[in-house]
Amino acid sequence: MEGLTLSEAEQRYYCDLFSYCDTESTKKVASNGRVLELFRAAQLPNDVVMQIMELCGATRLGYFGRSQFYIALKLVAVAQSGLPLRVESLNTVKDLPLPRFVVSKNEQESRHTALYSSDADNPASYSGVIPPPPGRIQVKKGSVSHDAVQQRTSTDQQESTSPVVSPQQSPPTSPHTWRKHNRHPSGGNNERPLAGPGPFWAPFSEAQPGSSTSSDPIWSGHSPPPHQENWVSFADTPPTSALLAMHPASVQDQTTVRTVASATTTNEIRRQSSSYDDPWKITDEQRQYYVNQFKTIQPDLNGFIPGSAAKEFFTKSKLPILELSHIWELSDFDKDGALTLDEFCAAFHLVVARKNGYDLPEKLPESLMPKLIDLEDSTEVGEQTGEVGYSSSPAEAPPSKSPSMPSLNQTWPELNQSSEDTAIVHPVPIRMTPSKIHMQEMELKRTGSDHANPTSPLLVKPPDLPEENKMSSSVKFTSGNTVTDGYSSSDSYASDPEQIGSTVTRQRSHSGTSPDNAAPPPPPPRPHPSHSRSSSLDMNRSFSVTPGQQQAGVVAYPPAVPPRPQPSQGAGPHVHRPVDAEGLIAHTSTSPQQIPEQPNFADFSQFEAFAVSGVNKEEEDEIETHSEVLQVEKPSDSASSHRGAKADGRVEDKAPANVPTSAGKGTTPLAPPPKPVRRRLKSEDELRPEAEEHTQKTGVIAAVLASQPSIPRSVGKDKKAIQASIRRNKETNTVLARLNSELQQQLKDVLEERISLEVQLEQLRPFSHL
């Protein structure tokens, strides 16, 4: 239809309404039934409604598309303000108040107005803040009390809906909010938002068949101040009559507005949450409210709330300390004594739920878990919106990691941050900071399952991450092996986070330049710190061996790993030759070291060339080879130009073969030699014979340079097998070592006992002679 310009408030409002009417979640069409209800709630004469429908084109189209719906809403506002219905008036009428739909509308409008016109956080000023419908507010208040009574009896449906908020708490910053909440509980409208009590509501309730909680919920849900209100109402609604009974007396004041809002919101929430069956889901309104509260304590949304401040805040909720303590335990995910935004929201949500009569879960519901993916900064970001039902909730949704925010997802500017958080978890490169790594590990332990968020990215990442620290300790090696093997266990990830993290960042930067490089799945780089020793040695070696070329390759790498691969490569072939049987593990482990070289796109061509040679079957192997080759070449070549030349030569041979994809690369001349050396190095790493390695490396490098044999693809398979067996052996070794120590301990104990017994025997001996 005609272009429709909506103000921000209108946009939001209409969007909420549309969602409300969008019973089938088509996002395109509002159900006629709902729309009609809405219009009826607008308290417009029928002919006006017909006119509106005609004007917006719905009668023409037969359904209410989004644009039609918006136009209709605008026309409703026009009609309600007394202006004649004209299409032209859509865009020409300025400062049109939002369409009012019965009771909820009042709230909605008042909320909107309050929102936009004043500080929403000041509940006390609600009545004052809401200029347009002051009368309404008052009426609402009165009705609220009525409602409260009525609602109380009728609420019980909300149980399955969002646990919501229990306004009873009184966050320091908005004490009135709390009061309002109190009211709400009494007035919680489960089904009919404010059905009944005031004149406004009466018609509304009548008009509304049971489930259509009227647009109120929608509206209430969406306006910011409503956040508080709705939020409050949520608390009310989940309402169980018992809950309401708890706050019978507190209905008054401004709560009316709130209750209305809350009622609507709750209804809506209920409606929506029922679709998810997750009482622990945080709705948009609630989240917004939590965020606002967070801001009052800590203006920086990425910062922490210290424990003491949080304690004061939550103590205001008047929950027993024991319960607050438990809530803290649940919500402080990383156990750092401070609450991030997500943790705070989770804690707040739990408090609200508790206030509403919900029992605290034993474990943190998935929907409240903070995402551990740090997209940008080091603080935890993201909110969990998994659908998980918990014991306290009547229904249990299958735990899933999919974001499950209620369909209230509105693109509110204020919700931007939260919408980010609620974005579906997707593999995101995680910059693994130590805190995150810890979080991941903790999460893994706590949840016992692979969190898609933290681990999947890791899973995705490993292939791309050059495994820099192959030469790390055996523990790392094992985890690296598992990674190379396919990243089977989450434990490997737990130990790999550091590696992955460091390499992720590196890889990311590099992969940008060379997609091919990133493609071959280099095992996740080993943690940098673990390689310090070898790295330094490698550094020395690599630099000494290939001053010129290495600079290009080494410098490209993050300081952690670079040199390692090269020397290992050089030494690899030489040393590994005899140890070829050790398995591919070593090989792949060295490859990660070489992987750092990958990012060095200067060598990419060479890399490809080598890769094409197909020394390794796996991509990792390829990468290894590449890196090996590169490294080998580096030592051999005097400048990167050499590499280019060699690469060209090799590339020609291997043109068809793709580095990342081709399993069988052409045999890189230098690949085989470096590989065995690398493997050898890896195993040696576990044993820590660094000195030998280095000497071997140098020797190997020289040998590699000279030899340049071509390795058939079968070698790759052997390597894999060898590496696998190496890994197994190492594991067995560690187990046996542990067992050995335990047995030693036992032996000691037994010896002690024996000694004590002998002493006793000696003491008794004299008596025996008697």
């Binding site: 424990g307 003491s308 949080a310 304690k311 939550f314 300390i321 024991l322 607050l324 303590s325 438990h326 803290w328 335990e329 649940l330 402080d332 156990k335 750092d336 004594g337 034993e362 542990r738 120590s741 335990e742 301990q745 036992q746 104990d749």
Partner: protein, 139 residues
């Protein structure tokens, strides 16, 4: 049979007691109480200069005819005592160490909780769950 107790300075009154099975608890309480002396002995034997190097795990405090008592003390002089049945030979030293480590970690988590006043009895559900699971593993 397993019993674990956490005692805090300075008076060494217990913050947390959990035992499996639950009968005859008093006997274990008494044992633990007496073992506190041994713990103090070991601590003081180190001397002030060695406080930092002192290992947190104290090992077998003393064996009696029925059971063994293991001790563990944190740097803040919070003592963890564990009484284990002697007949439970499957329990190795490493396992005891790991159990103490878990206890210590959980204890620090509790400490991070701003709602917890140091010196209060520990009522944390998470802590209980951890201890229960640990004990289940042993028995």
């Amino acid at each position: 049979v397993l019993l674990s107790i956490i005692c805090s300075p300075p008076q060494n009154y217990p913050l947390y007691i959990r035992s499996i099975p639950t009968e005859n608890e008093l006997k274990f309480h008494y044992t633990v109480h007496t073992s506190l002396d041994v713990v103090d002995e070991k601590i003081s034997a180190m001397g002030k200069a060695l406080v930092d190097q002192r290992e947190l795990y104290l090992g077998l405090l003393y064996p009696t005819e029925d059971y063994k008592v293991y001790g563990y003390v944190t740097n803040s002089k919070v003592k963890f005592v564990m009484v284990v049945d002697s007949s439970n030979t499957a329990l190795r030293d490493n396992e005891i160490r790991s159990m103490f480590r878990k206890l210590h970690n959980s204890y620090t988590d509790i400490m991070c909780n701003p709602f917890y006043n140091p010196g209060d009895r520990i009522h944390s559900r998470a802590f209980d769950n951890m201890v229960n699971s640990m004990m289940m593993q042993v028995c």
